[in-house]
């Protein structure tokens, strides 16, 4: 009996046994302490007046409860003030039988504070989510499924909640992108080292693309185990465009749009290393506009420039996308033909010569002029790039001295 008393004295929640008229028959210390913190001591004999300020409808709810036994009130949070401090009590009322009721009271102030803080944090996050423009912020599950849609995804790429919720975030990676990130690897890395970063094309809802930097960060729970990820994706399309522009400026001849000589050396080096690695043959054409100085002298530099542009346009149209046209100097161009043998290189060069000879370039006063090219063709034979270029130059020299408008294969 004494043990039972002690047990009830030390019980950490308040328990009150009362009748339907509110008369308190039993009450443990925590119950009296909690009730005393909101009402004066003389009300403790009557639960209705003790809880009057925070649960004024308690009597009504008890009387109206129609079941013989069961829950009248289930963990209702009641907010009040104890002095200057906010006090939140959780109240549960059960009908045990007939005229026997039990109220369970506990102090949930701390819990309520945490919940409020959580709610405030959530609101802050949503404020950020919903109002950033160049970022999308969303969370995904361990498997990469999108958990929560927010305004940022719509502003950023037009996606609506119904489009994305529950789907894999890989839906944003374009299927035909050769550098498409592998979601499993991305998440595995984020889980292993905390976060990972990838930059590339992302699909917008309208099918167009944006270039984005995407950071995936693991979200650990209290025990440190990863439960999901937060994804922050930043739209860098404009930066990417500017970078591409800069890169182009650095690698391209501004007049003709052909690669510049510096880049030509690099492109040639790549061909040499690929040939060394997998034995793929390639060919180079060194070509030069015949009597270019005469064109400039007679029609002016503007027409000379037009001749060079037309030549590059013709090459572009006649050649494959993999072929490279490089402005080597003045009116001299180097063309690199990957995966091309001697016969094919000769016929390509010949075809170019014929098309160029037939093309017209507008000159002064509605007249137009024609021009021709000479071409030296060379294929690598285990030598250095410099040696290959020397041989193609030699072949070009032979074509020039042999009367121009012709193609010569280097020996």
């Amino acid at each position: 009996m004494e043990d039972l008393l002690q047990f009830l004295y030390l019980m950490p929640v308040g328990v009150v046994k009362f009748c339907s008229d509110g008369k308190v028959e039993m009450m443990n210390p925590v119950a009296s302490a909690l009730l005393l913190s909101i009402k004066s001591a003389d009300t403790l004999g009557d639960i209705y007046s003790a809880l009057e300020t925070i649960a004024p409808d308690l009597r009504e709810r008890v009387i109206q409860f129609s079941g013989h036994a069961g829950t009248v009130i289930d963990q209702q949070w009641l907010r009040t003030r104890a002095g200057k401090q906010v006090l939140v009590l959780s109240l549960t009322v059960n009908r045990i039988k007939d005229n026997v009721y039990m109220a369970v009271l506990s102090d949930v102030t701390r819990l309520a504070e945490q919940e409020e803080k959580l709610y405030a944090d959530r609101q802050k996050f949503f404020a950020i989510f919903d109002h950033v423009r160049d970022y999308a912020i969303y969370t995904i599950t361990m498997d990469g499924l999108i958990e929560e849609w927010n305004q940022s995804l719509q502003r950023y790429a037009g996606w609506l909640a119904a489009d994305v919720q529950g789907r894999s975030m890989s839906m944003f990676f374009p299927l035909d992108d050769p550098d498409r990130p592998h979601l499993d690897l991305l998440l595995a890395e984020a889980q292993r080292i905390g976060s990972t970063e990838t930059e590339g094309w992302r699909l917008k809802r309208d099918g167009s693309r944006l270039w984005a930097n995407t950071v995936v960060t693991a979200l650990p729970d209290e025990s440190g185990a990863v439960r999901g990820f937060v994804v922050v994706s930043r739209d860098l399309t404009e930066r990417k465009r500017q970078e591409d522009e800069m890169k182009k400026l650095a690698t391209v001849d501004p007049l003709t749009g052909a690669y510049n000589r510096r880049n030509g050396h690099a492109l040639l080096a790549v061909q040499f290393s690929q040939r060394k690695r997998n034995g793929h043959p390639f060919a180079v054409l060194m070509l030069d506009v015949d009597d270019f100085k005469a064109v400039n002298d007679r029609f002016g530099h503007a027409v000379g420039d037009a001749v060079l542009c037309v030549l590059v346009q013709i090459c572009r149209k006649a050649l494959r996308p993999v072929d490279m046209v490089i402005r080597w100097g003045g009116e001299e161009f180097l063309i690199v033909l990957p995966n091309t043998g001697a016969d094919e290189a000769m016929s390509i060069a010949e075809r170019l010569r014929v098309i160029v000879a037939a093309a017209e370039v507008a000159a002064s006063e509605g007249t137009s002029i024609r021009f021709t090219i000479s071409v030296g063709v060379a294929l690598p034979a285990g030598e250095s790039p410099v040696e290959l270029l020397r041989r193609s130059d030699g072949a070009l020299y032979v074509a020039k001295t042999g009367g121009r408008n012709r193609v010569i294969l280097a020996s």
């Binding site: 004494e2 008393l5 002690q6 004295y9 308190v24 009450m27 210390p29 009296s32 403790l44 004999g45």
Partner: protein, 127 residues
């Protein structure tokens, strides 16, 4: 004060602290009101007969334990425990409710403390 002497004193006596300090356990048991004696950290050192009858707890179950946290948690608040903890000199009488034997009982508490003394005291009397 001799052996088995009954104490002739009242709840409101001005020299109650002096009288309690001088009394031994058998003497405290002769009082008509409850007395809990504690060391300055709240550990119960004496629990008299009247208090034991009010609460239903025997001294053996209480002595050596912290009164505020593990005997009567309903006093672990700013009205009682915090005052014992924070005030060096204490002699106040407050109206209070104890849930003695699981029923709310209106009581009067007298909180007695002086830092130089051997023990501090909580006296309990039903209203």
């Amino acid at each position: 004060m001799g052996e088995n002497t009954s104490m002739d004193c009242n709840f409101t006596d001005t020299d109650l602290l002096d009288r309690l300090e001088a009394a031994d356990d058998p003497a405290l048991d002769t009082l008509s009101f409850g007395v809990v004696a504690m060391s300055d950290d709240g550990t119960v050192t004496s629990y008299n007969l009247a208090e034991s009858q009010l609460s239903g707890l025997t001294p053996a179950n209480v002595i050596g334990r912290n009164f505020f946290s593990s005997v009567a948690p309903c006093t672990n608040n700013f009205l009682v425990a915090h005052r014992f903890e924070n005030e060096p000199v204490l002699d106040v009488i407050i109206d209070y409710v104890f849930t003695l034997r699981i029923k709310p009982v209106a009581v009067r508490l007298r909180l007695l403390k002086q830092t130089s003394r051997r023990r501090m005291y909580l006296a309990v009397e039903c209203r």
